[in-house]
């Protein structure tokens, strides 16, 4: 019904839209603000959502990149992400989905094992990024990274497509992942 599809809308001129999905409202808001502060030739649009499916009543532009933010301190955010993933069309996973794990720095607060998130990213063939969104510096760096990724996924970088980026990011993972 309201499954997100990557190509069901026409792209708007010079616009790149990113969707951040996660339970941590404050962190998502800060990340969105950092991203919008970035210098970028394209016009950036950042959408925030607690979970999918998105309400169909809103008129929104085509989404170029979905980032699922998982907080390693909270099992609830992982369950929420797993629920939301069901509402994303399979063709989105060709480089237009990315997982972001936050909270790995404070090991004593973690209730999810890192391996669980690694396995999730591996199952969905999507890159996994780590960032402690609570730390200013890391958040700013991650915002820069996401803006760059978004530009590639929206097709604004000549010569690089989302699929190219995906295969580049995947080649750094070890072969032992196959045993999982």
């Amino acid at each position: 019904m309201s499954v997100l599809r990557p190509l069901d809308k026409l792209p708007s001129l010079n616009t790149a839209t990113i969707l951040l999905v996660g339970t941590e409202d404050a962190l998502l808001q800060q990340l969105a603000d950092s991203m919008l502060k970035e210098d970028c030739t394209s016009e950036l649009k950042v959408h925030l959502a607690k979970s999918l499916p998105l309400p169909s009543s809103v008129n929104r532009p085509r989404i170029d990149l979905i980032v699922f933010v998982v907080n390693l301190h909270s099992k609830y955010s992982l369950q929420n992400t797993e629920e939301s993933l069901r509402h994303v069309d399979a063709s989105f996973f060709l480089g237009k989905v990315c997982f972001l794990a936050t909270g790995a720095g404070r090991e004593s607060h973690c209730s999810i094992h890192r391996h669980t998130v690694v396995k999730l990213a591996h199952t969905y063939q999507s890159p996994l990024l780590y960032c402690d969104l609570e730390v200013e510096g890391f958040q700013a760096t991650m915002a820069q990274r996401l803006v760059r990724m978004l530009q590639m996924c929206a097709g604004h970088v000549p010569g690089v497509s989302a699929l190219n980026l995906l295969s580049l990011l995947r080649s750094s993972e070890g072969p032992s992942l196959e045993d999982m």
């Binding site: 099992k75 004593s108 094992h113």
Partner: protein, 346 residues
């Protein structure tokens, strides 16, 4: 996260050779590099773990001798291997540590009002607290106050107790040379100032390093599952969990108490393979508790942080405090804690 695997043999064990086969110096570094390299590859937390059972060495453990270890709150530390520690020099160590403590206290660094400066330090080994024959013997350090009247009460009051142990520490034992004694788990009970003094002395004498061992929510839920799985004749305490909700301005604490037999019944319905505990079973066990709570209170406990777990076997707090209540599963509880300590060292 944890490199120790209880159910399958690790590749490390099959490839280790005797030290004499290599040049001296290259071996230990090589072994360390090998173990570190193996950990950075995606070896997951062992999805299976044996339920703590009465160890084969249980006969050596005298229930009376270990009774003083139970029902006390211990603060946990992980300790790197001790250099040139010898079990035959315990008397000498007692003497040196005694002198050090007296010197420190006279320096005024750790003066407490009303404290007796006449203290006596005793080092002793505790037999039987080990997992395999390879594990080094556990030893105990006690600070006793010397009583003023030597005629009565030769043994003064115990002011501070600390003990070092290693249970199934194979993964660490393989990677260190003969000069080192591996006792990665240190438990202390008593004044914090004494712990600091003892820690300083050990660090200076044996070139080791203490660090506080915190237990995160993931490990606490494993402990809850493993301890609930233990078969007990009678339950001495209710099974209780404590969660901390991160909200401003003041954090909220949620406490959830279950009758231990109900908890065991829940675990039995979740548990499939006998003698092993898997990650899925632990997750399912905790999810049952979370969904039950959600149904009644509409609060998602999975979004909060598990801070304390308390069962009839033992109780653990995330700050690294543990209290063991049952001598039957003492070795099992210590084995898991040793694993966490080894992981922190590595």
């Amino acid at each position: 996260m944890d490199s120790y695997d209880a159910s399958e043999s690790t590749p490390r064990q099959s490839t280790s050779l005797r030290p004499e086969d290599y040049f001296i110096g290259a071996t230990f570094l090589q072994k360390r590099l090998e173990s570190v390299r193996k950990q950075t590859s995606f070896i997951p937390t062992p999805p299976r773990r044996k339920i703590p059972h009465c160890s084969q060495l249980q006969e050596d453990v005298d229930p009376q001798k270990v009774a003083f270890l139970l029902h006390k709150q211990w603060t946990l530390y992980s300790l790197t291997p001790l250099y040139k520690f010898s079990y035959s020099n315990l008397k000498e160590y007692s003497r040196l540590l005694n002198a050090f403590i007296v010197a420190e206290k006279q320096k005024g660094l750790a003066v407490e009002v009303g404290e007796d400066f006449n203290v006596k330090v005793i080092f002793s080994t505790v037999l039987g607290i080990k997992g395999t024959q390879r594990d080094p013997e556990a030893f105990l350090v006690q600070i006793l106050s010397k009583s003023q009247l030597p005629s009565e009460n030769r043994e003064g009051k115990v002011l501070w107790t600390g003990w070092f142990c290693c249970i199934f520490g194979d993964s660490l034992l393989e990677t260190v040379s003969e000069d080192f004694t591996c006792l990665p788990l240190f438990l202390a009970n008593g004044a914090e100032s004494n712990t600091a003094i003892i820690g300083t002395w050990f660090q200076k004498t044996f070139d080791c390093y203490f660090s506080p061992l915190a237990i995160n929510a993931f490990n606490l839920s494993w402990m809850a599952a493993m301890w609930t799985a233990c078969k007990m004749d009678h339950y001495v305490a209710t099974t209780e969990f404590l969660w901390s909700v991160p909200c401003s301005p003041q954090s909220l604490d949620i406490s959830y108490a279950i009758h231990p037999e109900d908890a065991k019944a829940l675990w039995d319905s979740v548990h499939k393979t006998p003698g092993e505990v898997t990650q899925e079973e632990v997750d399912l066990f905790m999810d049952c508790l979370y969904s039950h709570f959600h149904r009644h209170f509409k609060i998602h406990l999975s979004a909060t942080r598990l801070v304390r777990v308390s069962t009839s076997v033992a109780s653990a707090h995330t700050d690294g405090k543990i209290k063991i209540l049952c001598h039957k599963y003492l070795i099992g509880v210590l084995a898991y804690l040793t694993e966490l300590a080894i992981f922190q060292i590595e």
